[in-house]
Subunit: 371 residues, 2 copies
Amino acid sequence: MIQRMTGRLAVTYHVRSDAASIEARAQSIAVEQSVEMPLDAIDDPIVLRDIVGDVQSIDRLDDDRFVVRIGIATATIAHDAGQLLNMLFGNTSLHDDVVLHDVTFPPDVIVNFGGPNHGIPGLRRRVGANHRALTCSALKPQGLTPDRLGLLAERFAGGKIDYIKDDHGLADQPYSRFGDRVRACAAGVARAVQVTGHPTRYVPSLSGNLNAMRQQIGLARDLGIDCVLLAPLIAGFANMQALVAEFPDMAFFAHPSLGGAARIAPALLIGTLFRLIGADAVIFPNYGGRFGYSPDTCRQLAHNARATDSTMRPSLPVPAGGMTLQRTPELLDFYGPDAMLLIGGNLLLARERLTEATAAFTSAVATHDYR
Amino acid sequence: MIQRMTGRLAVTYHVRSDAASIEARAQSIAVEQSVEMPLDAIDDPIVLRDIVGDVQSIDRLDDDRFVVRIGIATATIAHDAGQLLNMLFGNTSLHDDVVLHDVTFPPDVIVNFGGPNHGIPGLRRRVGANHRALTCSALKPQGLTPDRLGLLAERFAGGKIDYIKDDHGLADQPYSRFGDRVRACAAGVARAVQVTGHPTRYVPSLSGNLNAMRQQIGLARDLGIDCVLLAPLIAGFANMQALVAEFPDMAFFAHPSLGGAARIAPALLIGTLFRLIGADAVIFPNYGGRFGYSPDTCRQLAHNARATDSTMRPSLPVPAGGMTLQRTPELLDFYGPDAMLLIGGNLLLARERLTEATAAFTSAVATHDYR
């Protein structure tokens, strides 16, 4: 017997269908996500056996939806994160009856992609926090000059926050060039660190094409920065994969921007896939904030990001999006200490008392008694 | 009065809401897609005036949806195609009550992005077809060896087809490396062209990160190839933008993979945005095939791709996805001659009679009497 050329990813889709049609629909997804042509037109037995997607199971989910599991050949992915997305959901994303729900990866795929270079342990080490939850805030609004962003960064750091990320809208705009902004914010943080003694980290946001992002990381590294933020769905999965490999000293924060446009379950996209391609921290919309994610979605997402049943380092879940200082105890109990709370706008409302509000936040996290 | 720093993109969203909530919801989208923080926390009057999104109009669409038009500041985009997507729909994509419907660009944005380098005239010139519709097919299934793909290419070209694209699943897999495949397919096409005299073009599919795609284009160019295919949502908009600028001699075909269903209107995403960032041809799922796009959607998409009320060159609409030889007359009447019909699997069903089936297709297109 000829050795099979490839293992399979087990990919689950939620498919809206009636019972009479689901078998044919499942088979059509298996074809669409592999050879994308009538099987009758294929005369190569190896392709039919080892490349065509195979329907592994169909189970009823609720009144009008089924869970369809399809085996996608590992060999079609070729260790390319962009191609991974293409094979998981490329054409099927164009069908509005299907949601990409989950993926189980064979061990060799996980080893090949590798996951985070730093993960939770590396992010804890950077700020000297071994056990407690971590804290984060965001520099905004876009439109401020670099100097004003630098002053904001100094005030946040004055409250001993762990990480200060750029708003993901901060790019390389004429009123605030990446280089000017990063220099001003790094300097602002450095001034505060001299006072507080807490090693607050500044996390600049990358934008543009791969070359531009590479130059931005180089510039940041020259200023002593060791964390960056990017949005994988905008940057391109393969480009994030490349940056993670090229800059192993950098910790990568992944932003969910554009994550909703293609109907991929958030727990899979942000928790599993962002981790797989190397995100050390994954930012996501927390339940009860400005976005509609449920507590169950957030719990599953955090679980996927930091599950220890994998050879990958755990990725740090970072709930965000309309969070408030008042909710800190609730969220610490919900996520536990292996998480980083991100509060942006709610702290910025304190205006000239920003440092005090930030100190209240970091102190609430540091002194929390977990239920 | 201080000069305003920026013009505005007029961005329309379709928002599911009741009448009592729509004003507040529209305002929250305007904030989310610009400064992403409470306006009360902003003390910079320039930011409030020139950067915060402004709700320009709200109109009822149907029983439970409204058309909301928001002005997004041009300056926030900074000529970066990735940042364009980020500002149009980044966080709002995570809200399931909103669809990104349309964008009107100020002239300077269109000039800055530039659109296609070749467009419809350039794609006509390559194959010496000045008036008729163009024809296209696809090399598949993935899993075939380079030699077998090369033979398929030769057979398609033997039927005088205009363009032969790689299936978008063909990447750089171990069983069919990009270089081996492109050499074999270019050679296959060249053999046929010597016989037919028709200048059939081979369009290889790019994959991987920006560096990899750049190397792939270089390799293709060395073989005399002057067209390539990529999926902008997988490659990253900014990376496509960079390639279009770096390789002005290449024509770019854009594939809709990962385009999602319904969250970004297809006519906008594929017809307008792919064109804006330089797609000479835009492939999209035709109505009545394997995908659910309506005739109206396809008509609007084709209109956006080739509308002449713009300084951009027109982009060639390429309907595809489960099309059949039998439907050729209907589709030619529907799209008119400024289109390229793409039939893949249906031709491949002819197997050893592939050249004859292809010849029937190209002849049907060449001799069609438009209604």
